[in-house]
Each structure stands twice: as structure tokens, then as C-alpha cells.
Symmetry: none
Subunit: 239 residues, 2 copies
């Protein structure tokens, strides 16, 4: 399991150091920072303790596009999960559910954590394939970013330490995105209000990302969408 921990706009060196330490504690390697609000100085090093090698390898980039280069699956984190499931961008899985999914992924998993002060924005979350939320008390939902990292990397460590791999060939990211694009075309052709079409596409994106979808299953569904879109196109040309 190849995980790239990405901190978006981190504000405190202590948290960056603690996260570096956790990355080594749980047998991972890669820490990326997007547009950090602090310098990597004494504080980060002190908190990293014996994980200074992780800090020395840190990659700093200026935006999410660069942070996502070469990744196969993007995981966002939020404490503000959808109440009554009204916000389709914040419908979340649990850390355990994420871990089950993660063991089936061949490429690099991007694991995104937001700013200490305000987490990840809706815009950032909509770029994620799945959003994970740590169950916590309604009296105080928001965990510190390094506490959240501890829990997620621990669940990933447990999953990768114990589970044999799935028995089917998973769909490639390109094909998965292609399937989602087909659904979107289909959705845009419906008579629903525009914002509903986008939400429906996001719902489809959520579901196919969360499932363990094989190449075969994706191909079959793509066939149906493609044929129906062609038929429609053809009947429009005939008119």
C-alpha cells in the first residue's frame, strides 16, 4: 500500500512534525505539503523525533494539481460530515471502510488533510474520490490534524498488515474516470435542473469509488451508457 499524506495549508510546525513521525510509525514514507503557512524549522524537527528522514524527503507544492500528480485514488478528510446526507460532497465513509478499500488499490493513494483552522473546502473535497470522517462525539467533532492522521494511518496499517489482496483486476483510474464521464453525459441529457445533474454525477462518482469495482464491471456499464448515448445521438440526427 502506497500512501502519500498531503497536508493542505498546514499552519503549525508541530503538527507537520507529528505527522512525519506517524508516517514512519506506520510504515509509510511520503509527506507532501500544499502551500504551507509555516517554515519547516526547529518545531517540526522536534516533533518528528526519529522521523527526520521523512521531513527531509518532504515535497512542497503550490497547488492540489501538483500534489495529485501520479496518484490513483484521492481520499479527503472532514469532521463536518453530511448531516441527513444533504451535502453530497461530504457523504463520508468510516476509517475502517476506507482501509478495506485501500488494500485493493494498486497505485498511490493520496490522503488529504485540511488546515488546522478550517479543514478542507467543498471545492477541495469535490476533487476527492472518497471522503472519510472519523466518528467522534457531537459535543466536539473536530480532531486535531495529527490526531486524525494517527487514527487513519493506524487503520491503514492494520488493514495492510492482515489482508490478502482481492481476487479481481480492478479498473484503472483512467477507465473509472471515463465511466464517470459517460454517466455525466447521460445525466446532462436528462430534464433535471442543472445542479441536480451535477449532484447525480457526484453521487455516481461516490458510489463507484467506494465500491471495489473490477475492470469487467466497469466495461459492462460503459457499454450500456455508450450504446444509449449513441442511440440518442442517432435518433436526433434522424430527426
Amino acid at each position: 500500500m502506497n500512501v502519500r499524506v498531503i497536508l493542505v495549508g498546514p499552519e503549525h510546525g508541530g503538527n507537520v512534525g507529528t505527522v512525519a513521525r506517524l508516517i514512519k510509525n506506520f510504515g509509510f514514507r511520503d509527506l507532501w505539503l500544499v502551500n504551507p503557512r509555516m517554515e519547516l524549522g526547529f518545531e517540526a524537527e522536534a516533533f518528528a523525533a526519529h522521523a527526520k528522514d521523512v521531513l527531509n524527503r518532504v515535497v512542497i507544492v503550490s497547488d492540489l494539481d501538483k500534489a495529485f500528480e501520479g496518484v490513483s485514488f484521492i481520499v479527503g478528510t472532514t469532521a463536518v460530515h453530511a448531516k441527513k446526507t444533504s451535502n453530497v460532497f461530504r457523504i463520508s465513509v468510516t476509517p475502517e471502510e476506507l482501509a478495506k478499500k485501500a488494500v485493493t488499490i494498486k497505485g498511490t493513494i493520496a490522503l488529504l488533510f485540511g488546515r488546522e483552522s478550517k479543514g478542507l473546502s467543498n471545492e477541495e473535497l469535490r476533487r476527492c474520490d472518497v471522503v472519510v470522517s472519523i466518528p467522534s462525539s457531537p459535543l466536539y467533532r473536530t480532531l486535531n490534524v495529527s490526531s486524525a492522521t494517527a487514527i487513519l494511518l493506524y487503520e491503514l496499517w492494520k488493514a495492510k498488515s492482515e489482508r490478502p489482496r482481492g481476487c479481481f483486476e480492478e479498473v484503472s483510474r483512467d477507465n473509472l474516470l471515463w465511466l464517470i464521464r459517460l454517466f455525466d453525459q447521460f445525466s446532462q441529457e436528462s430534464s433535471l435542473p442543472v445542479h441536480k445533474r451535477d449532484l447525480a454525477t457526484k453521487a455516481f462518482h461516490n458510489v463507484v469509488s467506494r465500491a471495489f469495482i473490477s475492470k469487467r464491471e466497469a466495461t459492462l456499464m460503459m457499454g450500456v451508457f455508450r450504446r444509449n448515448l449513441q442511440i440518442k445521438l442517432k435518433s436526433e440526427l434522424d430527426m
Copy 2:
């Protein structure tokens, strides 16, 4: 579940604050410090964030005897677990095994964490009823005390919470079957060979069953299928 988190000889205010926050995050209340090596000042308060009430209630004692007053069960923590069970004081259970046990305990559970610099001594561990150790990489076993607290309180929270599953309202089985039926209608209308249509429906069925699909997501997708099927029906009637 009644848990008293006890930090033995804590050295850094930031860790005490982070632990206070975690106690509130996971619905617990009590933080005790044995012989702390720092003052509860600005740093602890900053890290506690919205859990200053936990800090305000903190109990400071001078030795373990006082910290154990009124408790029913004592849990120690160590990163140095017994290799081949040679050190009988460090034979440890996993956090999950601890959580399973903890839900059966009626009185107060003391959950003991050691010093940042050197953990709990053998003498301290021998007074514990059970020792728990968080599985981690042999390259760097020792977690920061607040990271360890995050993981243990998270496992205890999961065990005591009634709902193990995610934070959304799952789709009802009736609605799930309805969604699959809509896809099937859509699939049957494509120009694919019949057996492919059935397989595509089965692929869709697999994926939505495997995903954790919410009511909201199902409704959005059903909207798209329904509208498109109506359009098609309508255009056929018009012909």
C-alpha cells in the same frame, strides 16, 4: 464506559492539551496527571482548543496510588511489547482487544500513558491489569503520547457506540432494488446483445451493493434514470 485518562510524568504542555481535546472528541471527561513535569499554561490551553473544560477539571496527584483511587480496572500502555513473551509485564493486547474487554467493565477504567521520554517503567506496568500496545512499524515503534491516546480513545469510542457504521442514512433495500431495476430498463434499451445487457445490470447491482450507498445518492441517480427513460418513452410516443 467510564474512562480516566492518566498521564504519568508528562513533560510537554502541548501533549496534555492535545490529550484533553481527544478526551472530549471521544465523549470522555476525566484527565489526571501524576507528578507532571510542566505547568498547565498557555501551551496546554492552545492545544486543548475547545476542550478547556477538560483542562479545568484536571486532577493532579503525586503518585500512582492516588491516581488509582476508585478505579475498577487498570490499563497500561507500552510501545516496548514483549518479544516472544519473555517479559511477562509487557505481554500486551491490541487496542481492539482492549476495547472488547472495556465494554464489559462497569466501574472506572484507568488508562495510563507514560512519559514522552521513556514511557512507563516495569514497576508501573506490573500494577496494571492489562497492557495494551499499538501495532506499528518495527522501523519506529514508539508513538507520541497524544497519537497513542488518539488511537486508544478512538477504539474505545467505536466499541461503546451503538452504530458501528458510517454517518449517513443508508438506502433502504426497496429503494436499492428500484435503482437496480431502473438501470436494468436502461440497459435493456441499449443495442447491446441481450446477455451483455443482463451482465451489465448485474455489474451495476454488484457495485451499488458493494458500495455503502446513501439514500441521497440513490435518489439522485434514480432521478437521472427516471428522467431519461421518460424522455425516451415520450419521444417514442411522439413518433
